[in-house]
Symmetry: C2
Subunit: 367 residues, 2 copies
């Protein structure tokens, strides 16, 4: 990914949680894969490299990678459908917009919901007792790793351990959409049965594909079609375990090739080194923005930082011409917060970033 340059000042630079900028080498890989037949040795090799790299950056060498065309939210929905039955209990630990989204998924699917609501901005590991209580008798417990509505990184290991301690039969589902590729993720070591991520953000490609990483305990629970043909895990598992690459429904092979190019480069450079670079990039973002966080805390920064008392529309208007784009707040913080994120690119141009972010700091104070 070293081929990515921040570019001239006039160029648009997104610091929004979505979409994320896509690096030049990823575009090249997508383009090269556009005429790849949807079967055969080349696709086999590409999917194998993609799955290996994804397993490496999520610490999941034994999880099966189920690739779907669709959003990560649809993938979460498919996981709940596949591993639980209507009427069974699903607990959801939420401290933000994306936790609440899982609550809505579980409700729409007619599962018995037990929501553990932790205040926005407070990490979920502060509520381990409540997590344990909600886990008892639950078929599945879902939690978010990096909550992009507030910038809070939850301690997924601690939450997973609390579930396991309370009820070893409950499956653990982790929303790793904003953490995979950006933060340390160790599914095996943390006892996470299912993790969901998407093709964009930390995986570096365009949106359009999503991945469920499924451990053996989750695979043992798979319902035949789960009430869906298009997102049936039974069919996805069949495709994923076929001797040669089998694709279930038409995938966006170029989008997958983009993920493969990004992740293979990450693994080649060294995953630990990559994470250190990402942390440095985010430290630069935080430092250069020089703004108080919405929720003070000493949690290490994740890829998204949230700034209080800043109206994103107002700020965006003042930033017109700088090429900088920042994200609006979500949910209750829609009108009074700015979200500053940087996903995907592995080689930050710190000076250019500082230069541009000075504009944020200058323009930031509401007039």
């Amino acid at each position: 990914m070293s081929g990515h340059a921040c570019g001239p000042a006039a160029e648009r630079l997104l610091f929004t949680p979505a979409p994320n900028p896509v690096a030049d080498p990823v575009w090249s890989a997508m383009r090269a894969a556009a005429d790849l037949p949807s079967g055969g040795r080349e696709l086999d090799a590409l999917l194998r490299r993609l799955h290996d790299a994804l397993a490496e950056v999520t610490g999941a060498p034994r999880h099966l990678v189920l690739t779907q065309t669709g959003t990560a939210t649809a993938a979460i929905e498919s996981a709940v459908r596949a591993t639980t039955r209507p009427g069974e209990t699903v607990a959801v630990v939420s401290n933000g917009q994306f936790g609440d989204r899982i609550v809505r998924v579980v409700t729409a699917l007619g599962r018995e919901l037990r929501a553990v609501h932790v205040p926005w901005g407070v990490p979920t590991e502060t509520a381990l007792d409540a997590v344990g209580r909600a886990s008892r008798g639950a078929a599945l417990v879902a939690a978010v790793h990096h909550e992009t509505s507030t910038g809070v990184r939850n301690d997924a290991r601690a939450v997973s351990a609390a579930v396991r301690d309370a009820d070893p039969r409950a499956l653990v589902l982790l929303d790793a959409v904003s953490s995979a590729g950006e933060l340390e993720v160790e599914l095996d070591a943390w006892g996470v049965d299912i993790a969901v991520c998407g093709s964009s953000k930390g995986l570096g490609s365009l949106p359009g594909a999503s991945f469920c990483l499924a451990g053996s305990r989750a695979l043992d629970r798979v319902v035949a079609d789960g009430g869906s043909y298009a997102t049936s895990w039974a069919r996805l598992v069949e495709a994923a375990t076929a001797a040669t690459a089998d694709v279930f429904l038409t995938p966006s092979i170029p989008v997958l090739a983009g993920v493969e190019a990004h992740l293979t480069a990450v693994v080649r450079r060294g995953h630990a080194r990559h994470l250190a670079q990402r942390a440095q990039a985010h430290a630069v973002l935080h430092e250069a923005a020089a703004l108080p966080p919405l929720f003070p805390g000493d949690a290490p920064p994740g890829p998204v930082a949230v700034y209080d008392a800043l109206d994103a529309r107002h700020l965006q208007a003042r930033l017109a011409g700088t090429g900088l784009h920042v994200g609006r707040g979500q949910g209750p913080h829609k009108a009074r917060a700015v979200r500053l994120s940087w996903f995907g690119h592995a080689a930050p141009c710190a000076d250019e970033l500082r230069r541009r972010l000075r504009a944020v700091a200058t323009a930031g104070a509401p007039s």
Copy 2:
């Protein structure tokens, strides 16, 4: 799309039903849209142009365009979920693999299935009496326009009229995945309540997004969440009717920008002229291939032609080095048919096509 060239002989050329080659101007549009913020005037304008062009090429100025991230099959599933309730009757008219796929969707959703099976290769309009009988009391009747497993173009107008005659309350759903942008589609005039298409094939972009075009009768039936959060039509309708572009879950804006670029160019050039060019391209395919059709008939050629007694694996091996890729048969024809298709590009290089297809004709006879 006039910027597309067939390229040198060594270049890979796909004549497969999926994936389809993507033209240079479409790639440029995708790339230009990669840093488009997921809200704001630019996205507004892009989606408005996309929806207008899609409505024009499908004859549906009053249908609402619901854009989803996912496969067309998932979009069909969302339409069935949204407009029918579990236990209600859904009739499916099938004469091939893609009709059978809708049968599986309806079964997975627990709707009461009435399947009208027409033999593979026989157009569905030969079974209008059976279609009428199956329609009576059905909440929804689904049919495929161009059946890519056999190359048969069904008379969607006649099928839709038969449904309407038999039961005016039944909604008509048309799988237009392989016909939108390639064949005449007149949803309003034909009385089609819901049509589904995807971002690739005749819409010219990468796979990853899908569209449901919904008429007022369909919108009147929408169930609140339909048993899905991620593909809830109520939420999609809310997003589609918002004053400014509202996106429900993260869309692949570049994929949508690719569709917009392709379709806007089609509309600018003139839709009728575009369809005439597509018919010419397919006539060249048929003529140059010089092979007998799997199912003889006098239906005008659609974008996919199927050739009998040809093993695609065998043929592909003999074509190695020519850069030509053809598709394998499907279902019962997996081992003994070749599917030859050409989607998306509007300016065929007839000579290059003939030159390459002579290789198909020469290599085609099983040894």
